[in-house]
């Protein structure tokens, strides 16, 4: 709204501050003045009228009343006395209670009068409930018809505060007992997840929540390729890889944000590493899940992606060749912050190796199961350290057959004593026997 400086001046006998200064006063106490432009010997003040004051400014007189109150001047406007005024009751103590500053009574009534309000003061009858020590006085504020935005005592407090000047309200630290805030578990795991991913060398990105297709369609999309809410994070991450590959060779990025599936809003974590293979991404996934205290999960073949990850009877995520995406809401349900200490054995560990020829399509997990179930509790860890395809050329039943060789370190340790070679040899014999009990497996010796 453009307001003429000369027109404003006409309403006052006193000389008003210069246009720029007046604009600043209005910005602080009334409406934001966005520009002051000289025009034909006058100045135009472009004021952004707040929506609650629109009615008051229709005849531009709102600005005159505001200036009168700010500068404590008498404006030359005469409006017919309204037939009826809305009455708002405000206790004198309310001002301090809301604003945190004591404003002299004279100042309060002066401000409200200049804004066109009619003030009278009444004493409240003494009651046992009232303990405000002599401040039991109430202002009856008659609101002019051009101020329909004033309805409650807080509105009156605002009128006084803005004209009095917010700069005169001195900051005060809040009172009250400081109780340590409650922890938000979901956000704790969000934070742990980000730290793990960054620790593994990933960059965090934020992509748009919008996508070309999805389950939730916007009525008013920002553009044709952003008509839906995204249903996954991976598509966005793949686009990031494409863009960044112009400048970088190795790109490892992740996002932890909301996706919107048919069933509603879910938190998801997606990661992609352009140079990684499935096993590397599986390693990242393992590290992430273990870092969240999730131990009980397993990988299964999947029709479209390489693998799906299951836990607690549910699919919690998928791994594709060089990316993964997990349902983070599910991870939070499974996550556990408390790690329990296991005593470190004082006795030395013994390492033995075993290599097994198996069919190419054999799962490592099946071999591991047999080894672990046979070796007993002295076996504290196994480590697959080599895997390669191998054509058997020698004589024998497996001649010229495509096989793969799996080589494991088996680590034995007891919490109670130093293990002897004899003890471990006996265990290894049992393991060899159990492995060879499978007709398709052969221990390489």
């Amino acid at each position: 709204m453009n307001i003429s400086y000369n027109w404003i001046q006409k309403h006052f006998d006193e000389k008003l501050p210069a246009p720029e200064k007046l604009a600043e006063l209005l910005t602080m106490h009334s409406q934001e003045v966005e520009s002051v432009e000289p025009k034909n010997g006058d100045y135009e003040l472009d004021a952004k009228i707040l929506p609650n004051r629109a009615y008051d400014y229709i005849d531009y007189l709102g600005v005159i009343r505001d200036i009168a109150a700010i500068l404590k001047l008498n404006a030359k406007i005469s409006l017919p006395e309204p037939k009826e005024r809305e009455i708002i009751f405000v206790k004198e103590s309310d001002f301090e209670k809301i604003l945190g500053v004591k404003i002299p009574e004279k100042e309060i009534t002066d401000i409200l009068n200049r804004l066109g309000m009619e003030i009278s003061k009444k004493s409240l009858p003494a009651t046992p409930e009232r303990s405000d020590g002599g401040r039991g006085e109430v202002f009856s504020v008659g609101v002019p018809s051009e101020r329909p935005d004033l309805k409650i005592k807080e509105d009156i407090a605002e009128e006084v505060a803005r004209i009095y000047g917010y700069e005169k309200i001195k900051e005060k630290s809040p009172e009250g007992l400081l109780v340590p805030p409650k922890r938000n578990d979901a956000l704790l795991f969000v934070s742990i997840t980000r730290k793990i991913m960054v620790g593994l060398g990933f960059f965090e990105v934020y992509n748009y929540s919008f996508a070309k297709s999805g389950d939730w369609e916007l009525q008013n999309p920002p553009s044709q390729d952003k008509k839906f809410l995204r249903t996954n994070l991976t598509s966005g991450l793949e686009a990031n890889i494409k863009e960044n590959s112009k400048y970088f060779k190795n790109i490892k990025i992740f996002e932890l944000e909301k996706i919107f599936s048919k069933s509603g809003e879910r938190m998801a974590i997606g990661a992609i590493s352009n140079k990684a293979d499935f096993y590397e991404m599986k390693g990242v996934a393992d590290e992430l899940l273990n870092g969240l205290g999730i131990d009980d999960f397993f990988y299964k073949d999947h029709d479209n992606k390489v693998a799906e990850v299951q836990a607690d009877g549910k699919t919690i995520g998928h791994i594709d060749t060089n990316s993964f995406e997990f349902d983070f809401d599910e991870l939070v349900k499974l996550a556990d912050e408390a790690a329990e200490y296991e005593p470190i054995s004082k006795y030395p560990a013994i390492v033995r190796d075993i290599a097994v020829f198996v069919l190419l399509n054999e799962k490592v997990e099946n071999v591991l199961d047999v080894i672990e179930n046979t070796a007993g509790k002295l076996l504290i860890d196994t480590d697959l350290f080599d895997i390669y395809p191998h054509t058997i050329t020698g004589v024998g039943v497996y001649e010229n057959e495509e096989r793969k060789s799996l080589a494991f370190h088996l680590i034995f340790q007891s919490p109670e004593k130093t293990l002897t070679d004899g003890e471990i040899n006996a265990v290894m014999e049992k393991v060899f026997e159990a492995v060879e009990a499978n007709d398709d497996w052969e221990v390489r010796k």
Binding site: I152, K170, K172, S173, G176, P221, P222
Partner: protein, 259 residues
Amino acid sequence: MADKNKKNIDVTVPGKKMERGHLHPLTQAMDKAGDIFQSMGFEVADGPELETEYYNFDALNIPADHPARAMQDTFWLRQNELKSQISNLKNNEKKLLLRTHTSSVQIRYMERNQPPFRIISPGRVFRMEATDATHETQFYQIEGLMVDRKTNLANLKAVIKIFLQRFFDDDNIDIRFRASYFPFVEPGVEVDMKFKDKWLEIAGAGMVHPKILDNMKLDPNEWQGFAFGMSVDRLAMIKHKIDDIRLFYSGDLRFLKQF
């Protein structure tokens, strides 16, 4: 042993290339803000981005015909019967939208908890805006709410000022309140921050409108408090002298590497 090998080491050869990961600058800003507010006793609360008209507008004293709804251009969702059921909506407020502020989280929090309240809610919000260097269709916001028996405007001033001083690690930061209007606060103010001798708009704030407390079944004569909201993107842009908000959502490693 060290001495023997030392001879062959050329300490001026560049180190082996290592690459650490980086947190997004907005995450870093939200983490820092979260730490500061938590040290002042504020709990971090969160809520949905896909929100109902009730939590985003009605409960915040922004009725359908209110001019403030025009102030924020909202993304609305196309709906069918199924989607309305899924979203587990309250009463008859079935219209779904992308939240335009995280003030909706305040309402959800107040429904489930008893005062006094001290919470902040950081999160992604959406506005139907033409994008340019300072406007985006999505950005992050931090809303704060403090409700107690005596919490007043002077307290609001103290909390915001301390927060900004700590956030920017600059004790010279000053703030000022300007007259403004938001339907969910009364009085309502615009907060400017004096940063390196310039006044910058940094937050909207005010005293929680009694209507909202009333909606939450709290007696406005017993409880009162303040609320404020600011853009995390803007805080981060000022802090790191970033001149284009769109960089945050570009996934561009040349940008992200710098934080």
